[in-house]
């Protein structure tokens, strides 16, 4: 199936999803003064986590990133486990699984938009793709949990290793704008900013060629939610008796899932393309 047909089949579901993605990204980044002044929101809403990957240092952010929150608590001197963030992820995950990735994550929206940029040959899959998708679980375990927990300073404080060395969302949503507006920050730029800028550039370029590379291979938040996909309250169901096995759902899936085989696969981000493409409407 060529790309034009693929896009046409995902059109109706795609438009509704895009509207909600934009609306949610705006709602959770509605501190517009921050974008103008290069400052961040310091109000009480920052006590609360948002479901998606949304850096709390983004000038517009009105909530906290759950992955950042988890590392902040694990890495603090007086706590060694983050019950608040873990409970939040469990609650959201058990309610909707990776629906968050497909509908409520601003960084997912950015990648969706980047993938719309025309390119000679988009890559759907490659050798080692399946194995590489396990990387996000390793990143979750090592950089979000173990390193902040055990690699600590004399006071027992650990760094947010994922945010510091891997996450390009902070550079894109916060770093670029804050550095532009803040002269003293510009003076403090060093190798870390350069490293994160390279990571961001690679993520942006890859997002043009591969659908959501950060979500597929790197994102620890997606890794957490993926565990809850099969048991989530709001998950997909399929009427296997009525399924004709035509394969239309698998062909439109940009995450390379075959819903006829496993409708709640860990990689499914609930974009709804399969529901829209099904000729006999057995996915609901």
């Amino acid at each position: 199936m060529d790309r034009r047909n693929k896009d046409r089949q995902t059109g109706a579901a795609g438009k509704r999803r895009r509207m909600i993605q934009v609306l949610w990204a705006f709602l959770t980044n509605s501190y517009l003064v921050g974008f103008v002044q290069g400052k961040i929101y310091r109000g009480k809403l920052k006590n609360l986590c948002v479901p998606g990957l949304n850096c709390y240092s983004c000038p517009g952010a009105v909530g906290s990133c759950p992955i950042g929150a988890m590392q902040a608590v694990i890495g603090s001197w007086n706590f060694k486990f983050a019950f608040y963030a873990a409970g939040f992820l469990m609650f959201i995950g058990a309610l909707m699984g990776r629906f968050v990735c497909g509908w409520l994550c601003p960084f997912g929206l950015i990648q969706d938009l980047l993938y719309k940029i025309p390119f000679l040959r988009k890559i759907n899959t490659f050798k080692g793709d399946k194995l590489l998708r396990k990387l996000k679980y390793v990143i979750l375990l090592v950089f979000v949990i173990l390193l902040p927990m055990f690699l600590v300073d004399v006071l027992g404080q650990g760094l947010p290793y994922f945010c510091k060395f891997i996450c390009p969302a902070g550079t894109l949503e916060g770093g670029i704008l804050l550095v532009l507006f803040n002269e003293s920050m510009r003076g403090a730029l060093g190798w870390l900013y350069a490293w994160k800028s390279v990571l961001l550039a690679v993520t942006i370029l890859l997002s043009v060629v591969i659908y959501r590379p950060f979500c597929k291979y790197i994102c620890p938040l997606g890794a957490v939610y993926s565990v809850f996909n099969p048991i989530a309250v709001f998950r997909y169901r399929i009427d296997k008796e009525k399924c004709t096995g035509c394969g239309a759902c698998a062909r439109v899936c940009k995450m390379q899932v075959d819903p006829a085989k496993n409708v709640n696969h860990a990689e499914c981000i609930r974009c709804g393309a399969c529901k829209d493409a099904c000729p006999v409407k057995v996915i609901y």
Binding site: K46, Y84, G87, T171, G174, V179
Partner: protein
């Protein structure tokens, strides 16, 4: 609705457990740590320090 609840019992139990765990974290004062981190620019996150 009843069908949804019946077919999602595990999800509902896990979500409730998540709320309990969240409450446990809040009672320990973890929210304050998150708040303090979130209202100051996270130098590590933006790539400065």
């Amino acid at each position: 609705m009843i069908r949804l609840i019946r077919s999602s019992r595990i999800g509902i139990i896990v979500a409730a457990a998540g709320l309990l765990i969240m409450g446990c974290g809040i009672s320990r004062g973890e929210m304050l740590v998150v708040f303090e981190k979130a209202v100051n620019i996270c130098m590590e996150c933006v790539g400065i320090g």
